[in-house]
Symmetry: C2
Subunit: 96 residues, 2 copies
DNA sequence: TGCGTATTTGGCAAAAAATGCAAATACGCA
DNA sequence: TGCGTATTTGCATTTTTTGCCAAATACGCA
């Protein structure tokens, strides 16, 4: 396989993998409603804040979310809203 | 978090996880061109046929592809073409 | 029935991902 | 400067994923 194609496949796989976790999908859906700080997300997700922070950094490294520090807290927001469209496709797979 | 929501998140994560591998994305793209038998896919992917077969079963368990045995060989085809649209969204993330 | 090809499955080892705890950092405020 | 809150990072452990080899299965054909 050509190196060029392999590179494109790996890029796509990296993005899908970054999203492929229930907590990270939850984060994506919540951020679709507007930006949130880590503490707000942590209070919604029953997990250690360090775990939530790690999930956020996975999404950030993939370019899916963006962070901004304001004062004491860090706010995250969704950078690729088109991702939300994926889930409609999934619904068609659920039946049958 | 409500059990109902958690279940939905897990379903979505399972689908994303099933796609989140370079070889499996390759398979999805190839099947978008039409059905292929395992041997054809194996010859395109430089990996053991057993490895390719396992990737195919991951996609099949997720409901993304469908298989049909004809004679000696097993043909796979894409069941959810809408998945192809994902990758356009990814392109927007690549720049910057 | 016996052989050859196509595919899947079992088993195992290596690599990657997930998670909590504790420690480090960053920042605002008294 | 010193304290308290918010966030990230280091570390150790467990779980999951990947990939190959060898063995098992399935099927067509002589």
């Amino acid at each position: 396989m050509l190196a060029d194609r392999r590179q494109k496949l790996e890029f796509r796989a990296r993005l899908l993998k970054a999203m492929a976790h229930p907590t990270r999908i939850f984060i994506i859906e919540e951020l679709a409603r507007g930006e949130q700080c880590v503490c707000e997300l942590t209070s919604l997700i029953e997990a250690d804040m360090s775990t939530v922070s790690r999930h956020l950094s996975v999404l950030k490294n993939a370019g899916i979310v963006q962070d901004e520090k304001r004062g004491n807290q860090v706010f995250y927001r969704l950078r690729a809203r088109c991702i939300l469209g994926f889930f409609d496709c999934f619904e068609t797979l659920k039946q049958q």
